[in-house]
């Protein structure tokens, strides 16, 4: 059963890298958000440094949500989704495999880029570590929750915004606890509790996401 799932992850990663769209654009959007915020806030450097972690989370959050479009739609459009339905593995695991590939291609680069962009915002080193770690824990939750929105909207004409809008309400707690864990770590308070909350959210969505996405895909057929 591993071989088919590994094949799915490998194929999706290859497509993400070659199709020259998904991964790179997400990173550029992240950069754009981070660059634009100081202009909006004004030349108040201490303030920018203080909101820096939140801005990084906001940028990663939006980039993740907007990148969900096409997770299943691309396969639906060219008939590959039927092939995945007929594979000798449960559809839930197929969805999880696609989620993993999507996070590796779009979420993980955001986590890697975050500390560098944090320097742009003048965020101090300890805060940078906290943000990066919370993003590492939180971005998988965003991707796996996003599986559900992408699956529900699979047959709809491609609108990156629509899937993002569907997914956003339930993604808000991920943002809240991700930033909460970061702030606690920065303030030197006990960051363990919010971090554990963020981690448990991720584990929750790692299970709920593929299960609900598989159900949605099954019900989207005629």
């Amino acid at each position: 059963m591993i071989a088919p799932l590994a094949a799915i992850v490998k194929r999706d990663l290859l497509l993400a890298v070659r199709a020259g769209g998904g991964a790179g654009v997400g990173l550029m959007f992240f950069l754009a958000v981070v660059v634009v915020v100081p202009f909006a806030v004004g030349p108040d450097i201490p303030l920018i440094a203080r909101v820096g972690p939140a801005v990084l989370w906001l940028g990663a959050f939006l980039a993740s949500l907007l990148g969900l479009d096409g997770l299943f739609s691309a396969d639906h459009e060219d008939g590959s989704l039927d092939l995945l339905f007929l594979a000798p593995v449960p559809l839930e695991l197929v969805a999880a495999a696609k989620g993993l590939a999507h996070w590796l291609a779009t979420g993980l680069p955001l986590v890697v880029l975050a500390p560098l962009l944090g320097l742009l915002l003048g965020v101090e080193p300890r805060a940078l570590g906290a943000v990066t770690l919370s993003l590492l824990v939180g971005t998988p939750a965003l991707t796996f929750l996003g599986l559900v929105g992408a699956a529900i909207a699979v047959a709809l004409p491609r609108s990156g915004l629509f899937v993002a809008v569907l997914t956003l309400p339930l993604a808000i707690p991920i943002l809240i606890f991700g930033v909460g864990a970061t702030s606690a770590a920065i303030a030197g308070e006990a960051a363990a509790a919010p971090f554990k909350f963020a981690l448990s959210l991720t584990l929750f969505f790692l299970v709920l996401g593929p299960a609900a996405a598989a159900a949605a895909l099954r019900h989207a057929r005629d």
């Binding site: 071989a3 088919p4 590994a6 094949a7 799915i8 490998k10 194929r11 290859l14 497509l15 070659r18 199709a19 459009e77 060219d78 008939g79 590959s80 039927d82 092939l83 995945l84 339905f85 007929l86 594979a87 000798p88 057929r221 005629d222």
Partner: protein, 198 residues
Amino acid sequence: MRLNIEGLACRRGERVLFDGLSFAAEAGDAVVVTGPNGAGKTSLIRLIAGLTPPQAGAVVVDGAPLARESLHLIGHLDAVKGALTVKENLAFSRALLGGRIAGETALEALGLAALSELPARVLSAGQKRRLALARLLVAERPLWLLDEPTASLDADGQARLAAIVAAHRAKNGIVVAATHAALDFPGAREVRLGGAPA
């Protein structure tokens, strides 16, 4: 192997496409499903494959429901990824389906061996169709479900399809194909939709 279609019913939106459809196929048989546009040929193929649940009736193989590990489905669309090479596309299908036969053999049989390193997006429609059909050869499955298999195929492609279908039937496989065009499947049974009741 004996395939039994028993009293299948299909509804699309508010329209009833067919009702009480029954036929059987033995090992080595070919069934050709014909009918006008919108008659439900594709829906029937998808129903048999188990992609959609039937309104009524059952698809039974040797007394048990048809398992997805026993069938190949080549649908309307090719399921070919333009950004991957021909070889990579086929390797993916092979790994996904747990196939044991080398991709090169399949490409040879469909006349695609020379194109194996090319990205699939540069292929013509007929070549992409052949690549889709090559999937049939990388994993051994007893039941083949084909939806418009000859779409975009030239004479050579059609001949190759006929050859692989004949070989499959000789090994006691079953083929059910929905089509507009004439298919070269000797001794095939016809099931006609959208006209007189089956």
